[in-house]
Subunit: 234 residues, 2 copies
DNA sequence: AATATATTGTGAAATCCATCACAAAATATT
DNA sequence: AATATTTTGTGATGGATTTCACAATATATT
């Protein structure tokens, strides 16, 4: 009967109805941003040997509201059991699926400096659905070498190679001064989404997706909270 | 007369009334997170020779609502001129003051790997109110050297040195596996705020301020938007 | 000098997100 | 078997943030 709370979800699964772009959009951005946090927490929890977990516990450990956690997780389509909670393995899978992190996407990374290498070396990176297949740099000493099995190529080759390899994601870790130019070359190569670590706002066509990994943003919150807490003490 | 819209702000300035913790708290967190974005945008704008700027223009370039920009900037106490906008220099100063980024705070950085060095090399860093005064690492080959004029010391010395130097801010760029232990040593040294780049949730006393600079968070938004846009095309 | 235009600043309305309250469900306990 | 307990799922409520609407104001134009 339609009394099941998951009736419509079941129907979708049974008939393999594709989730449309409209539905995809429906998650609030704050919820979306919390999903990776849950993921990490759950991976830690799994390592301790747990197999089930409740939102009550997740919320306590992450200092969130249990209902909020439940609603966030519900966006991924996961179904829990009253009195028990969720199966950790299934929950992890559900989140990864929702984020599309189970399908690895190839990506180009421009800027083989410390930050670029840090990202490349970040093993858990493939867990986040991204595989860096080539590095690009302008420094002749770096070019034509390999770093962790990934070739370093000159920036001029980026656009044509991106086209040929149908790359959709570009990561920018070059200095602010060359970020705009590198971004434009990525766009010329057909790249659709750019993850920008350079402290510079990029001006690109509207249809290009840009996420700025602004260090400064979280630092603002930190310094602000610290100033508050120091004020309170004195 | 009290008809001036900024009467209370003027009064505060004239009598140097300190902003209290209560008032400090009053900015919405979303607004706080946007302030560094404005700052960067304004610094770029200044370099082009502009001296005045309107929220209309800022909003257009950053794809925000003009009223939102106006209200955000108002939290810093800035006052604009109808038909003209804001003086860029004064506006930049106003934001920096509000974030307390004009007063440099000393900080310790644990983890002299690629990511740590990337942060250290980030010249604009001092613009964000933080000065890294020592690096800590466990790798004997790195210890007792200097990187960009900053000494690299063994992690065991961190707590006692933090106490002696009254350090309040710690930055963690060690691997996830040692993040918790390093964080605890920071707390033991009296550090009050931790900026955590390790992909690991830290369990620390409630009074410690922790900001997680989660790469994964912005990546989730990116991959999600990309999946949406690819759905729409097909 | 008068009028037009662009912008600020802000109260009001609308939207979005988080939290509350509680029925339904699954297990544990008596 | 009945009762107690814990948790899920969700409609309703409350609060926070964004957007709207518009008066006030400074400059530009006629």
């Amino acid at each position: 009967m339609t009394s099941s709370p998951h009736f419509h979800i079941l129907i979708e699964k049974i008939f393999s109805i594709n989730v449309t772009a409209e539905e995809l959009k429906s998650i609030p951005e704050p919820s979306l941003r919390r999903l990776p946090v849950y993921l990490q927490y759950l991976q830690n929890a799994r390592e301790t040997g747990k197999t089930e977990i409740s939102t009550t516990l997740i919320a306590r450990d992450l200092r969130l509201d249990p209902t909020q956690v439940r609603k966030d997780l519900a966006y991924t389509g996961i179904i829990g059991k009253p009195k028990i909670g969720y199966n950790i393995d299934i929950l992890i899978n559900s989140i990864e699926d929702y984020l599309n992190w189970n399908n690895l996407s190839d990506a180009f990374l421009a800027g083989a400096g410390n930050l670029g290498l840090a990202l490349l070396g970040f093993e858990q990176f493939t867990k986040y659905g991204i595989k860096i297949v080539a590095l690009f740099d302008n420094d002749g000493r770096k070019i034509d070498r390999e770093v962790k099995g990934v070739p370093v190529l000159p920036v001029e080759k980026m656009a044509s190679l991106a086209k040929r390899m149908h790359i959709h994601i570009g990561i920018i870790t070059v200095p602010a001064s060359s970020a705009q130019s590198v971004a434009e070359q990525m766009v010329a190569g057909g790249i659709k989404a750019i993850w920008n670590f350079a402290p510079k706002m990029l001006k690109l066509p509207e249809e290009i997706i840009v996420e700025n990994a602004q260090f400064a943003t979280s630092l603002a919150v930190l310094t602000r909270k610290l100033a508050e807490s120091l004020k309170m003490v004195e």
